[in-house]
């Protein structure tokens, strides 16, 4: 099986450690994955803000970059959701039938990381070690657009040393929402403040999620308030071992 990793633009530019963690993890599980260097972004920022024309060249680049792979793994529920649900809309808008056909071929091959681990590789114990009190925030898109269900929790429960505590109102949106975070900055912050309060209520040292964009938002609030709680991508937790 030819496997590619879609690192995502935000991870590439802001959170390279998440991308590195995905490769470490996959390699440990015996998967030699590629990073197709032509990749950039899934075009979600444009699509969700209403700029469909501007999304067309980005989607085109996406399908070209990932052509020929059997599986495309991404450490982002949001980007996986965007590819699966929005690329066809963008392709239709472009009026380019060839693009529509390529999109229809590529989209179903995209897996969010936990889907790939649990469904394709069939593992929940990835041999990780992380001796901290952790709480987990299921991001909206992985929860509702993808329906990853309890896969992330099943993976976390197998991590040695990890003390997993339940997050109150876990399924409520953190308020990030892409450009919503700046277009409706105050509402976004109010939502995030409630999320941060729930995180603090758990007494966790680390908040884990499968989307760095949501963590950028919640983590930014937790840091501004000097709570001392840090945020971490699930891939980084799963990549850690006793020897690392």
């Amino acid at each position: 099986m030819k496997v590619a990793v879609q690192v995502t633009c935000i991870n590439d530019a802001m959170f390279p450690d998440t991308g590195k963690a995905v490769f470490t993890l996959l390699r440990r599980l015996g998967v030699e994955a590629d990073f197709p260097a032509a990749q950039t972004c899934c075009a979600q920022p444009m699509v969700n803000t209403g700029y469909l024309d501007e999304a067309v060249p980005v989607v085109r680049n996406f399908v070209d970059a990932f052509a020929g792979y059997d599986a495309i793994v991404t450490p982002s529920g949001s980007c996986a959701g965007s590819v699966r649900h929005q690329h066809s809309i963008v392709a239709r808008r472009s009026g380019d039938d060839r693009l529509a056909a390529t999109v229809a071929e590529t989209s179903p091959k995209v897996y969010e990381l936990t889907e790939f681990l649990v469904d394709v590789l069939g593992v929940t114990d990835v041999g990780a070690y992380f001796p901290h009190r952790v709480t987990y925030h299921p991001t909206c898109h992985s929860l509702r657009m993808l329906g990853v269900g309890d896969r992330p929790l099943r993976l976390l429960r197998e991590v040695r040393g990890l003390d997993l505590v339940e997050l109150p109102a876990a399924d409520e949106c953190c308020g990030f929402g892409g450009t919503f975070a700046v277009k409706n900055a105050e509402t976004s912050t109010a939502m995030g403040a409630d999320k941060a309060r729930h995180v603090l209520d758990t007494g966790a040292e680390v908040l884990v999620a499968g989307d760095n964009s949501c963590l950028l938002h919640i983590g930014g609030l937790l840091s501004r308030q000097r709570t001392g709680v840090r945020v971490m991508h699930l891939a980084e937790v799963l990549a850690g071992t006793e020897s690392s």
């Binding site: 590195k20 209403g50 409706n184 105050e186 912050t189």
Partner: protein
């Protein structure tokens, strides 16, 4: 009544005020939290809930596909049963029809029940301009009317008020509107309801004309259906000599048996009850009574013409999407500037009124974090996030001739992101800028990463409340290349 949605600011500005209203935030969080839990419990009891949702969506979609035929059928059945059918293209026409009926009967006051459509067209104000007073008889609507306030929820228009506030309103305002509130009125719900009952009973007994809405209109039998909790519908529909019903043309269902599905979906989704207390149905005119039905378009055919957006016309106004919406929970309904607030309001208003003409309306598709909770809750499976994104694209397209800063930013982002070499260069710039900016921000975030300082606009929109980690010195892409992976 002087309160009006006309001239409301765009959503972000309207929300700002609501966000700082402590009482409002508390009232809303409490009310939506309670109803959310009730709904989840009774929906959980129904094993075939998903099939019911699919059935509800399918019935509505099929009906909308042949809306013209069903409407003609409805008109025929209604006329056969002695009702007079009127067609209204817009708000002004509809209001004029109702006012002229009132004048024919020489009435100067009407009682109202279940009438979102009449609020949509501003009927009370239009009647007042012609010297006719309209009294709301639904408890929550009465509270809004007496308080000179605006509705903030589809089902519970006074959801933003608590008991203490309602007591104040009753004590201050009831006397001027009819029977005064008792002197020793407390804020116990039973006493408040009792005061409203006595106040309203006088109105019911006196009124010669009633105005209603309808939850459903059955084409085959010409039956209008009103679903409610207080029994005021019965009073309004049976006592007066004239009943005028203002009904949106999307309320139609073809047959009586189609109702079955909706009478299961609606109460569980809206009030979290297995069954609603009162379901009133009436077909045409009863003896000694005159019945009029105003079939209202007011933008509905415009919505119908929108391929993606037309699913919004399936809406049965249950308000489940409002109650689960994290944005609505914090901003309340007034921020949406319409009688249709919350997620459904964010799509219905632009669909009915059109995009690209009004800043307030254009701001609504952006009043969502696209979390998807609304779609999950909607009993007729309206994919609200999908319609929101679609409407955003219509807003953007409507403004393409005069691009804003945002459009320029999106164009350049698109250019950079269409080619990995350009992105690689941009990231190198970001790394440099990060190193520079990082010097100014001395703060270290939990986990050890350095934070940037406060950013200038538009970055300030982010950094006013949230720390921003400094960009890494090396992007993933650069690391991959340096490692020689390829």
């Amino acid at each position: 009544m002087s309160a009006t949605f006309v001239g409301m600011p765009a959503f972000p500005a309207a929300a700002r005020e609501a966000l700082s209203d402590t009482q409002l935030r508390r009232n809303l969080a409490h009310a939506t939290g309670t109803i959310r839990a009730k709904r989840a419990a009774v929906v959980g009891e129904v094993d075939e809930w998903e099939e019911l949702r699919l059935a509800g969506a399918a019935i509505k979609d099929n009906t909308l596909r042949h809306l013209d035929e069903h409407l003609l059928r409805l008109e025929e059945s209604l006329t056969d049963r002695g009702a007079t059918v009127h067609w209204a293209r817009d708000a002004a026409e509809a209001c004029e029809i109702v006012a002229s009926i009132a004048k024919q009967h020489a009435v100067d006051e009407v009682v109202k029940v279940k009438s979102m459509a009449t609020q949509e067209i501003g009927l009370n104000e239009a009647l007042a301009a012609q010297g006719i007073t309209a009294w709301e008889t639904d408890l929550a609507e009465l509270i809004v009317q007496l308080g000179d306030d605006l509705p903030s929820h589809i089902l519970v228009p006074a959801i933003h008020r608590n008991r203490a506030e309602i007591r104040e309103i009753f004590r201050d305002k009831m006397a001027a509107a009819g029977r005064p509130a008792p002197d020793d009125l407390s804020d116990r719900p039973a006493e408040l309801a009792g005061a409203a009952r006595l106040h309203l009973r006088e109105k019911f007994l006196r009124a010669r004309m009633a105005v209603s809405g309808a939850n459903f209109a059955v084409a085959e039998t010409g039956t209008l259906v009103v679903v409610e909790s207080e029994g005021n519908g019965r009073m309004c529909l049976t006592l007066p000599e004239v009943v005028v019903s203002v009904v949106g043309i999307e309320k139609i269902v073809p047959t009586w048996s189609d109702l079955d599905v909706f009478l299961q979906l609606l109460p569980r989704s809206s009030t979290g009850e297995r069954m609603n207390p009162y379901t009133s149905t009436w077909s045409g005119a009863t003896e000694g009574q005159e019945a009029h039905v105003v079939l209202l378009d007011n933008g509905r055919t415009r919505a119908l013409a929108d391929e993606v957006g037309r699913q919004a016309l399936r809406c049965i106004r249950c308000s489940a999407c409002l109650n689960v919406c994290p944005v609505y929970e914090r901003t309340g309904g007034h921020a949406y500037g319409s009688v249709y607030p919350g997620p459904i309001g964010a799509i219905l208003n632009p669909l009915l009124r059109g995009t690209g003409v009004d800043d307030q309306v254009d701001s609504l598709p952006y009043a969502s974090s696209l979390c998807g909770a609304c779609f999950e809750a909607c009993p007729v499976r309206i994919d609200i996030p999908e319609v929101l994104v679609h409407l955003r694209s219509k807003v953007v397209d409507a403004h393409r001739s005069a691009p804003k800063a945002e459009a320029v930013a999106m164009k350049s982002a698109s250019w950079v992101l269409a080619d990995s070499k350009r992105l690689g260069l941009a990231e190198r710039g970001l790394g440099l800028a990060g190193r520079l900016l990082g010097r100014f921000g001395r703060k270290v975030m939990p986990g050890g990463r350095r934070a940037l300082g406060r950013l200038p606009w538009p970055g300030s929109l982010w950094s006013n409340a949230r720390d921003v980690p400094a960009p890494p010195v090396e992007s993933f892409r650069a690391w991959w290349r340096r490692e020689g992976r390829r």
